[in-house]
């Protein structure tokens, strides 16, 4: 029974778009899947103590080149996307290698990444002739205009994007699982506890940290590419910079970065939350979402450090409430 549950859920998710689901909910589902992928990528680093406050940087550097290549050279996103992901990975190397090589850890690492997200955002804005600056840019409509263009990855029907996003999200979960079952996971756990001791048992600290960073960057870049392609609109403030970077952190912590589904649950919570705020307050209370995010984040870090989903999983696995084992169970 339990073994079939995941497959049942996947099957259910796969048939959702073919049921009469209101378009708005389909739209939300797509956003949740994509943000779920990005947050899963972030958590792959976060759960090993590599806290990045700049994942927006990986988003911007991946999605803009793809859109620009399409607009200026007509290069299909099928080729633009791998180029974009490649650039995100390259940025990961540029930031990760020196940081890890010279043992920049903890708060200092977080600060470096914070700068990374902003540098990418400011660069996009500075290149406004190309990128449209803070007004954003739109990928050109494929000519001749059709409803379904696989070449341009432009679809009028949201269901195409839903399926693409679902596949990518499942790919992200699969990557999580692979990491979780590999020696890399033990190595990274050891590193997060004591780098010197980890090196002394034979772990190549720099390379292990770099590899997980690159995986995380790639997943984030891919998510950004899908967001840009789905919205058919790119804006530096929502696809790079500090605000989206912190939203990723927030979602991952609230959902629970130590569990496979935690980051996605976190994405779901933030997106639903943001949408309902908008529905109730309209545009009158700008900044409301950020304020509430901040407050919730503090509460979560204090009272539910393993996130909502981490908490549920731990309770479910050990209903007796033996907290030391709860801790261990929640990290699995």
């Amino acid at each position: 029974m339990k073994r079939w549950l995941p497959y049942g859920c996947i099957a259910l998710l796969a048939v959702v778009p073919f049921a009469p689901v209101p378009l708005y909910y389909l739209h939300l589902a797509i956003l949740i899947l994509i943000m779920g992928l990005i947050c899963t990528g972030w958590s792959l680093m976060g759960k090993f103590g590599l806290v990045s406050l700049g994942h927006g940087g990986f988003m911007g550097i991946a999605v803009y080149p793809m859109a620009l290549l399409w607009n200026h050279y007509g290069l299909t996103p099928w080729l633009g996307a791998p180029i974009g992901v490649g650039l995100a990975v390259l940025l990961g190397v540029l930031i990760g290698y020196p940081a890890f090589r010279f043992r920049v850890v903890g708060h200092y690492f977080a600060l470096i990444t914070l700068a990374l997200g902003e540098v990418v955002r400011l660069s996009i804005i500075a290149a406004r002739e190309l990128t449209g600056g803070s007004l954003g840019m739109t990928p050109l409509r494929v000519q001749p205009i059709t409803d379904v263009s696989w070449y341009a990855v432009q679809f009028t029907d949201k269901r195409y994007f839903y399926v693409i996003a679902l596949v990518a999200w499942l790919g992200g979960l699969w990557a999580w699982r692979l990491v979780n079952r590999s020696m890399a996971r033990s190595a990274l756990e050891a590193i997060s506890e004591d780098e010197v001791a980890a090196a002394s048992v034979g772990i190549h600290v720099t390379s292990q940290k770099l590899r997980i960073t690159l995986l995380s960057a790639a997943m984030t870049g891919l998510g950004a590419i899908m967001l840009g392609q789905y919205n058919q609109y790119l804006n530096p403030n929502s696809l790079s910079g500090i605000s989206i970077s912190l939203e990723i952190v927030f979602a991952s912590i609230v959902g629970g970065m130590y569990t496979m589904l935690g980051p996605t649950i976190g994405a779901l919570i933030t997106i639903v939350f943001r949408e309902s705020l908008r529905a109730y307050f309209g545009a009158t209370l700008t900044g409301m979402a950020e304020t509430i995010y901040g407050l919730l984040l503090i509460l979560f870090i204090i009272f539910m450090p393993r996130g909502l989903w981490g908490f549920v999983v731990a309770r479910f696995a050990h209903p007796t409430g033996d907290t030391s084992r709860l801790e261990v169970a929640a990290t699995r």
């Binding site: 506890e193 004591d194 001791a197 002394s200 034979g202 030391s324 261990v328």
Partner: protein, 234 residues
């Protein structure tokens, strides 16, 4: 087996070791003794690759260890049981031992080595599921020894295994080291308990402010007038 020739090392502009020469033969147990701040820990850091040297040479069985990154030393057969143990506190005892067998050659023998370490330290078997950070000081020391042994090193470096333990536990730790010796391991041990250390080892070096002040067999040093007066209060 291990040979240091004129090794100098330090931290930034501060030089902590001055032209140290030292030799450990296969099957031998050698102690490094000396006052606080003499550079004993620094010496072990150098031998385990955590600290690059300024000059001199280090060879293990004739192979130079210069320039090897820290994580490669264990593959060369050098296991370091560091000062203050440095276990992985939020991992269980068994996971700590598993990490000790991280390198591929050791991973292959994980199950048998684990049984062997548990046979050596039955207490660890009892505590296998406990988080290492919650072990008692003596148990942590066992766990650290066990972790270092999991890779079946050619040379075991022990940095003050008895530090911070009650006298009765100090005796126990020395018994543990004696058992490890009896298994045929080559041991280089740093100790403050000079008398007890000299009962355990074949030879010893006395380090003072980064220089070798004295060296000799345990028997010679036990009767050395200077050592007796300055360090053993006899």
């Amino acid at each position: 087996m291990l040979t240091l020739r004129d090794v100098s090392a330090g931290y930034g502009s501060f030089q902590a070791l001055f032209e140290i020469s030292l030799e450990v033969s296969a099957g031998e147990a050698v102690a490094v003794i000396g006052p606080n701040g003499a550079g004993k820990t620094t010496l072990l850091r150098v031998i385990s690759g955590q600290l690059p040297i300024l000059s001199g040479s280090i060879t293990l069985q004739g192979r130079s260890l210069l320039g090897l990154p820290a994580h490669r030393f264990i593959e060369e057969g050098i296991a370091h049981c560091p000062e203050n143990r440095r276990l992985f506190p939020r991992m269980t005892v068994e996971d700590n031992l598993r990490m000790g067998a991280f390198i591929p050659t050791a991973r292959r023998h994980f199950a048998e080595r684990l049984d062997w370490v548990y046979a050596l330290f039955p207490r660890l078997r009892e505590r296998r599921g406990q988080l290492a950070g919650t072990l008692s000081g003596g148990e942590q020391q066992m766990c650290a020894l066990g972790r270092a042994l999991m890779s079946h090193p050619k040379l075991l470096l022990l940095d003050e295994p008895s530090a911070g333990l009650a006298p009765v536990l100090v005796m126990q730790v020395f018994d543990l080291v004696r058992r490890i010796r009896a298994e045929g391991f080559t041991v280089l041990i740093v100790e403050q308990n000079i008398q007890q250390a000299l009962e355990l080892v074949d030879r010893a070096y006395l380090l003072e402010v980064g220089k070798v002040k004295l060296s000799g067999t345990a028997g010679e040093l036990k009767n050395n007038q200077f050592l007796r007066q300055a360090y053993m209060g006899l």
